[in-house]
């Protein structure tokens, strides 16, 4: 049985539903039936959303999103939300510096961001209370899908990704906004989300099906990238590929009954897209950082994270709708080398390794995009799965902590959002005297997701169906309209 979500409407050409249902008719506008229906369904949803939020502040200004996901849980109090007047076992070793946001200070080790914050909103009241222990995987899943995990072991570990998972926000966007040009709709780089042995939970399309998984570019962009499936094979240069396609077309066309029976599956559409992707090279070029000047590359920082953010900008320019840049470290990796997960050695690594990277790359991204006018239609979000405990050296997640470490802390942490109408140069929400909990305007991670959907012109209250065809809300969160200027 075929059931189309949303109210069926006549399309602009006045074609009736009856005609659409005639399987075997040549697809309208050259599209096959599922594509057309998917576009119609998303168009219907879009127009329903547009009606609901007509004229609302911040609705529908974004065409794309860069999600900078700082897996590991960066310490908010040492980076974004210093409390110099708190007790010594809370305030830590770093001093605050003023920023372009009036009355707001951040860590001395983020000087470039202090300048770049005039383009963004700093949220200081991110907050949620997880069910049970909250190690990284569960928190990451909550953050990126909007749903708490289904099966959690006593230590907070989850099952590996499977076909019943809720989809990552990028997968939803991938489905709701079908691409019209030869680029990849959703890209994840430069490495997967990971905690210990669980890789990619919360980063895949789950019950939407593999068609909406991100394109995974798991290579270090500091070095030249090799993309076999997007690059022409050595033994099959462009001309030979063209010949092959012409031959393929002829073979398909010599079986008109089969063509007719498969017309609604839009296979030619997908083959066309694959062909365009390989031949046009637009997608491949977006990944090619040698096309950028060295000065630009250095501005972003010649390390994995910096080059990844630069690549994200290029992908957005090429037309990708959702780019997820994962902090290039296993979430619970070694803090002294790559990870934000500073259960020990909180201060040294932050000062010498992680903060300088984040500072340079994120500020470069914001400035660069602003200069190019890209912040008008692209939303940039930088967030981790939680913050870190205000009290140094105590255990809050069942993990052990060194006397100079901070444990996981979801009750209050920070995020940076910019673009697509987000207010520039302001702080949103406030934490209490020790950055332990929001004093005002708490923002649940679901609220942030709802706001991102809203900015993309999608109604976060809309109903979706999972693999068992059960109705679910896209995300159970409230739109934070006050984030928009």
């Amino acid at each position: 049985m075929l059931s189309i979500p949303g109210r069926a409407v006549r399309n602009c050409d006045g074609v009736s539903r009856r005609e659409l249902m005639r399987i075997g008719s040549i697809g309208l506008m050259g599209l096959g039936l599922p594509e057309f229906l998917a576009q119609k369904a998303s168009a219907a949803n879009e127009s329903a959303a547009a009606k609901k939020y007509a004229g609302a502040r911040g609705f529908g200004q974004a065409k794309s999103v860069i999600m900078i996901f700082l897996q590991g849980g960066p310490s908010h109090i040492d980076i974004w939300d210093p409390k110099p007047d708190a007790a010594s076992n809370i305030r830590g070793e770093f001093k605050p510096i003023p920023t372009k946001i009036k009355g707001t200070h951040i860590s001395e080790h983020m000087p470039m961001m202090a300048q770049a914050l005039d383009k963004a909103t700093l949220i200081r009241s991110m907050s949620y209370t997880p069910n049970g222990l909250f190690n990284h995987t569960a928190a990451i899943y909550q953050m990126l899908t909007g749903y708490p995990p289904d099966k959690v072991s006593p230590s907070g570990q989850l099952e590996p990704p499977n076909g019943a998972d809720f989809p990552n926000i990028g997968s939803h966007i991938s489905k709701m906004k079908p691409m019209t040009e030869p680029v990849l709709p959703f890209v994840e780089l430069p490495r997967p989300l990971q905690e210990s042995g669980i890789i990619g939970k919360g980063g895949a399309a789950g019950f939407l099906g593999k068609a909406y998984d991100p394109y995974r570019m798991y290579q270090d962009p500091v070095r030249p990238i090799q993309l076999d499936d997007l690059s022409l094979r050595k033994d099959v240069p462009a001309d030979r590929l063209k010949d092959r396609f012409a031959l393929l077309k002829g073979i398909n066309q010599s079986m008109p009954d089969l063509e007719k029976a498969l017309d609604s599956y839009a296979i030619d559409e997908y083959y066309g897209k694959a062909y365009d992707l390989v031949l046009s090279g637009k997608a491949r070029d977006a990944f090619d950082l040698t096309k950028e000047k060295d000065t630009m590359r250095e501005r972003y920082g010649m390390h994995t994270f910096g080059q990844s953010t630069l690549m994200a900008r290029r992908l957005i320019e090429a037309g990708t709708k959702f780019v997820q840049v994962n902090w290039p470290s296993v979430a619970n990796g070694d803090p002294e080398t790559t990870a934000w997960d500073t259960h020990a050695a909180n201060f040294g690594p932050l000062k010498n390794l992680h903060c300088p990277k984040l500072d340079r790359s994120l500020s470069a991204l914001l400035e660069d995009m602003d200069q190019r006018g890209m912040l008008k239609e692209t939303m940039v979000v930088a967030i981790g799965e939680f913050g870190r405990s205000p009290k140094i050296g105590v255990s809050t997640s069942g993990n052990s902590n060194a006397p100079d470490g901070r444990d996981h802390w979801p009750y209050c942490y920070s995020a940076v959002v910019a673009g697509a109408g987000i207010a520039r140069g302001v702080q949103y929400g406030e934490s209490d005297a020790t950055a332990s909990s929001p004093k005002e305007k708490p923002v649940h991670p679901n609220d942030l997701l709802a706001t991102i959907y809203y900015a993309l012109g999608v109604d976060p209250d809309m109903e979706i169906r999972n693999h068992l065809n059960q109705p679910r809300e896209l995300v159970k969160g409230k739109i934070v309209a006050d984030l928009f200027g």
């Binding site: 009856r18 399987i23 092959r244 009954d257």
Partner: protein, 724 residues
Amino acid sequence: MKYLAVSSVLVAGLLAAEPRVTYLKDVAPILNKAGCTSGPCHGAAKGKNGFKLSLRGYDPQFDYEALLYDLSGRRFNRAEPGKSLMLAKPTQEIPHGGGLRFETSTTYYKTIFNWIAQGVPFGDPAKDKVATLAVEPTDIAMAKPGEKLALKVTATYPDGTTREVTREATIESNTPDVARVDAANATVAGERMGEATLLLRYEGKYATIPVAVLNPKPGFVWKPLAQHNYIDQLIDAKLQKMKVQPSGLVDDAAFLRRVSLDLTGQLPAPEEVRAFLVDVTPNKLKRSKMIDKLMAKPAFVDQWTMKWSDLLQSSRKFLGEKGTYGFREWIRESLAANKPYDAWVRELITSSGSSYESPEANYYRTTRDAKATMEKTTQVFMGTRMVCAQCHDHPFEKWTQNQYFEMSAFFSGVGVRPGYEVGEEIIYNQRADFEMKHPKDGRVMAPKYLVASAGAPPLPAYDFDARKRREAFANWLTSRENPMFAKSAANRVWSYFLGRGIIDPVDDIRASNPPVNAALLDALTKDFVAHNFDLRYLMRTIVNSRAYQASITTNEWNATDVTNFSHAMPRRLGAESLMDAVAQATGARPNFPEVPDDTAATQLPDPHVGKEGFLDLFGRPTRETACECERRTELSLPQALNLVNGATISDAVADPKGRVAKLVLSGRPDAAVVEELYLASLSRLPSKAEAESGLAYLAGGPRAGRAQDLLWALLNSKAFLYSW
């Protein structure tokens, strides 16, 4: 005193003017109709704004208590009914997050008002709970789209009284494009030709109405085709009624390809195609003999071992490596010996012992919790999804939450403990403390069969032991009289060959998902049981039918039919078959880790082998659940990208030891090369035009490269990727 008595008589007299109103009979339906108990509102898992009702009102006692006793009884006001929250909120006299549900002028308001004034009586379940629901009409056939019909729903109560409840009933169509329901007026309109089912619900009772909107085009003349067996008779009976003309038989080459893939998961070899095409035996007999030949091949056993291993979740994630191989071998041996289906299901359910020595006992290692075991057992062997009923009564089926736990109680005594060898586990029956308890109040749930099955063994006294529980369950499940066991199996096997179940999805059988052809399903089921649950017999019967052997070519009368088996539908090859087909066509088989060289993809032990590669991209089941839906056959951008430019096809066509290389080195003429490439990939000879264009292409460049291109194009064509 007398004064008080007189005035209370007066008041009673006034009240007596209003009809007697109870919660059960009058108020609960209003709460359901007005949406108070719906999923997005107070029926949500945590309710809304501190007020929780049962989902769609399945538990009136609970709802009644919530209304009366929560918040110190502030929800209603006996002295001034109009001031009750129950009335003020839905009419928006007080701010209500759910908006306006009904106006103060409506009968809904008056009914609730009277109920409160009458002292909020609950009602008597023996008198006020609906006994049966009747709908009019019971069957709808519209001669053409555009017709409209009014519906009527009548409830009958245990005392025989009836009430028309059309307005309060929930009426939905499962295919609004065909039959659209106007809930406000309780009418149904035919939108386009096709079939739909209307689902009507009122106070825990269900009814369905089949709707057929016929083709308005004049001039339909039924042209009878040969019927191979009763399957065709029953399909034709429906088609004729629906004015749908079935398609004729598919040609020999396409038939051979289709049936080889369906029975053995493999393409026919070029020599086999040639032999079949020149064989002059009369068609029906020729095909029937080929079917027998295919079912005798080892690949037949491999294919079905793989499919059952999918459903039984044979994976090292649950069973460890040795356990996986053991379980798979047990499945294979059972299928190779053609053990009757009911026999091996019974063995699985009653299995105990070492996971190494009694490998069927691994059934209890893929799910270790009684509830999960019950869910997968009912999904695989009864085609029913019980999972929703764990937390609330099933919204679209008559299963209750109590039944969920009563069924789970059959498995609550299964124990698993470590064995003596590394990785070994022992499945045993626990002796004490294994009762299934209801989560709400901890009461012990005795095991009880989901549906009555004539001749089912009576259940002994409820504290019967764990082993006896599983035996009783197995006997009830596999009994010939169980209305769901044989039926769901026949339906599932049917779907493997026709691409779609008679009930679809095959593991979601419920009242609101009726079969498209009940007579056909019943006959198949009966035949299956009569032949001792012989799976091979069932398959043989299905593939010998004309319906299975129909062409994909449609005519003006069946072009829009996708559910009634009037023509074949193209189906994408499954991941394993696709990989094997590429290997066979190109003569280059990739080697998988941990298995011998030349192992086919259909022979792999579990999804761990070749993880994250081609097979997973093309939708190989992960065996994480027992759902048929794990296998995916979409063909969208990521798959197209892999086929067009990925290593799998491109490397295989260019393999120096592969078919193209051999052909080029053999020195045979171009025409022979084209012919063999077509036979190896599309399993048929090229047409004259195709041969000519193939020849022209080969002549247009260096022979080896051009031959590789030709094979590449053939492997990317729809005729290769799909079975038709």
